[in-house]
Symmetry: C2
Subunit: 435 residues, 2 copies
Amino acid sequence: MQFNFKDSIGVRDNVFREGREILAPYIAYVQKTIDDGGYDKEEGFANLPGDEVLLTAVQTLIAEKVTGKLVYVVVLGIGGSNLGTKAVYDALHGFVDALELKRFPKLLFLDTIDARYRNALMILLKERVTSPEEILICLVSKSGGTAETIANAEYVRVELEQNLGDMSDRFVVITDPNSPLQKKADEHAIAVLTVPEKVNGRFAVLSAVGLFPLAAAGIDIRAMREGALAIQKTCLSLSVEENPALASAIALWALHKEGYTIHDTFFFNPCLESLGKWYRQLMGESVGKENDLHGQVIHMGITPTVSIGSNDLHSVGQLYIGGPKDKVTTFVVAEHTGPERTFEEGLFAGLVPELRGKTPNTIITAMFEGTKAAYKNHALPFMEVVFPDISAHSLGSFLQYKMFEMMYLAKLLNVDAFDQPNVEAFKTETKRILK
Amino acid sequence: MQFNFKDSIGVRDNVFREGREILAPYIAYVQKTIDDGGYDKEEGFANLPGDEVLLTAVQTLIAEKVTGKLVYVVVLGIGGSNLGTKAVYDALHGFVDALELKRFPKLLFLDTIDARYRNALMILLKERVTSPEEILICLVSKSGGTAETIANAEYVRVELEQNLGDMSDRFVVITDPNSPLQKKADEHAIAVLTVPEKVNGRFAVLSAVGLFPLAAAGIDIRAMREGALAIQKTCLSLSVEENPALASAIALWALHKEGYTIHDTFFFNPCLESLGKWYRQLMGESVGKENDLHGQVIHMGITPTVSIGSNDLHSVGQLYIGGPKDKVTTFVVAEHTGPERTFEEGLFAGLVPELRGKTPNTIITAMFEGTKAAYKNHALPFMEVVFPDISAHSLGSFLQYKMFEMMYLAKLLNVDAFDQPNVEAFKTETKRILK
C-alpha cells in the first residue's frame, strides 16, 4: 500500500512536527497496550489481528458450521456490527453479487427493519433454502439489545422454522461476554463468539464480528489479519514519513483548523463504496462530539463523505472544484489491471477520438490522474492511498491504518475516540414513543 | 405528498417573505415559460411532463422494441444520464433486485468503465441472453461524446454481437438532436429518441432519458408524469404555505447564510437511497459554483449528503447530534404499512422489552419520530417530506418538486442553476494525459 500525504496537502513541515510531538506520548501508550496484550483498554482493538485464540475460536466454529452445502450467510447487525463486514465482502464479491448468480456462498445483510427488504429476503430464503445446512445466520449485537437486530432475528427465526424446523444450530451469536444475548444463546445451545467488551463496535471489524461471517463466505481472514499486522508496525512509527496514520491524522487536524470541515474519501474503484461507508461511521462517531475530553461543549466534528470515480465527476465534481473550500480529499485507488481490448475504429468508438488505441484501464487511470491534476490546479488539498490490489490483505491493511488514523485524530482534536454518548438521544426518544 | 417546512426550521416569517419577494419575478418567468411551452429556455424542463409528443414517441418505440421476452434493459449512461432512472427504478424494484431473482425485465446500469463490474455484467448477459429480443441497450449521452458511455457502448456491442449477431436493432440511442451520436445512429439505422438541447442532464429525468428505460422496465411513466404535473402547480404558487419548492429553497438559502453549509437528506426508507444520489447531483452541480451570475468569484455551494434510517443513526447519528451546527436536514419518509406480525415473547424478542406487542412498522415509525424529537431537542433545523406511498406517481412528484426547489435556490444564491463549467477541468486534464 502506497501513500502520498505531502505533495498536495498544503500542510507545512513544522505543523507535521507539532502534531507528532503532541501524539508521541499517546503512540507510546498505544505501543505499550500492544506490548501488554489483551483488551482492558479501548486501544486494545490493535491486539485483535495477532490474537491466535480468536482465530482458533473462529476457525473451529467455521469447521463446525460451514460445509460445501452452504448457500447463504445472513448477517443480522447494524452500524459497527455489519459495516466492516460489508466493506470487505462488497469489495471482494458483493459488488457483483447481483450479476454472479451462481457464485456461493453469498453474504446477505439485514440491518434496518424496513419491511420491503426483509419480506423480499424471506421469500428468497424460503424458496432457495431447502435444508438447514444451506444457511447460517450471524446475529451480531455487542450489547445484545439492538432493537433492529433483535427484531430481525426473531422474524428470521420464526419464518425459517416454519419450513426447516428448529434452527438453533444454524444461528451464531456474536456479542459481548455476559450480555443478555449471550445468556439467551447459552440457554438454547446456540453457538456464541464473544467480542472483548472494551473493543468499540466501529473498531471491531477484525474481531469475531467481521472474521466469522467473512470466513464463512470463504474470504481469507488470515490474509486480512496479516495485512492489518503489517501496516500496524508502520502506524506506530514516530516518523511522519513512515507512519501513514500519523501523517493523515495530522493533515486532517491541521486542515480542520483552517476551515476544512468535510473529509471526502474519493474511491476510484466502485467496489470500495461500502469501505467508504465503514469509514464514514468510523470518522463520524469517533470525532463528532459535543464535548471535549474535559467536558467542555465544543461541537467538534469533521463530516465524512464518500465519492466514487469516475461517476461522481459527473455528479458532485462541479461542486468540488468550483464550490466552497471546505473539503479535504483522500483519493483511494487500486491499479486497474487485467486483460482488456484496445478500442479501434468501431461503430461507436470513433465518437470519442481519445479512446483510439487505448484500453478501458488506461482511460480510467487517465481520469484518476486528470482529477488529481484538476484538484492541484485549483489548490484543493488532497492525499492519496494506492492499493497494490483489491485483496483481503490490502483491505486488512486499509482498515487497520484508518482505525489508527482515527484514534490519533481524536487525540489531536481532544475528543474521546471511543464513546458515542449522543446516540442515546435517539434511543431515549424512541423508547418514550413506543411506551 | 405532505410537507412540513416551518415547525422545526428556525427561519422567521419575514425571511420567508423576503425570499418570496426576490423570487416572485422569477416564478412569473417560469410560469410564462410553461405557458409558452417548448424548450427554448433551460426552465423548459418544466414542460416535459405535459409533452404528449414526447410520450407518444416513447410509447411508440416501446411498442416496437419491448415484448414479453425482454429480460434485461442495460442503461449505458453516467451522471444525469442514469441517476434519475436509477432513482426511480431502485425505489420501485432495484432495491430488491438481488433478492427477486425471477422478476423480469430488470434494469442493469453500466456507468463508469471499471473492468470488474463490466466483465461480470458481460458474463451474465452472455450466459442468460439467448436471443436479441431478450435484451435492450439504452445508450444515453446528451452530448453524444461522454467517454465512459461511448467506451461501454462499444464494448457491450462487440461482446454481444459475438453470440447474437448484429445488435443495431436492440440499441436505443437517447441524445441531443444533431449530436454526432445521433448521426452515427442514423447511419446504422439505430433508433433514436432526442432530448431538447436546453434541458440540462440533471433536469432531464422526465425526458426520454428517464421515460424510455423506465417504461421498458414496466414502470408506469404516465403516473410519474401525472405526479410531476400535479405538484408543479403548487410549485408555481406565490404562497410559501402552498409552494413546497419555494419554502424549502428559502429555508436552505436562509440557513446557508447562517453557516449551514451541508444539506443532509435523511431517508427513512432504504429503497430511496438512489433518489438521494440523484438529488446529490442536482444540488451539487446546480448551486456549487465558482462564479455568481455577474462573473464574480464566490465559491458558492451547499454540500449535499444522503443518510438512511435507521442505519445511519448507528453510524453518523452521533456526529449529527453532537457535532458542528453546519447541517440542515430534510427528512423523507413513506409510511411504513402492510401486514406484519406483532412481536410476542419469542426466543430473541424478549431481549428488547419495547418490541412486545409491536410490529416492525410501528417500531421504525417510532424511530423516525424519535429521531425528529432528538433533532428538535438539540435545536437542529429540519424539514419533512412525507410520501403517501412509494409509487411512480409519488416519485414523479418528488423529482419535479426538487428540480423546482433547486432552480429557485440557485436564483436566491445568485448562481446559474443550469451550467457546470468546472467539469471541463477534469476533462481537459484527462485528455491531456491520454495524449
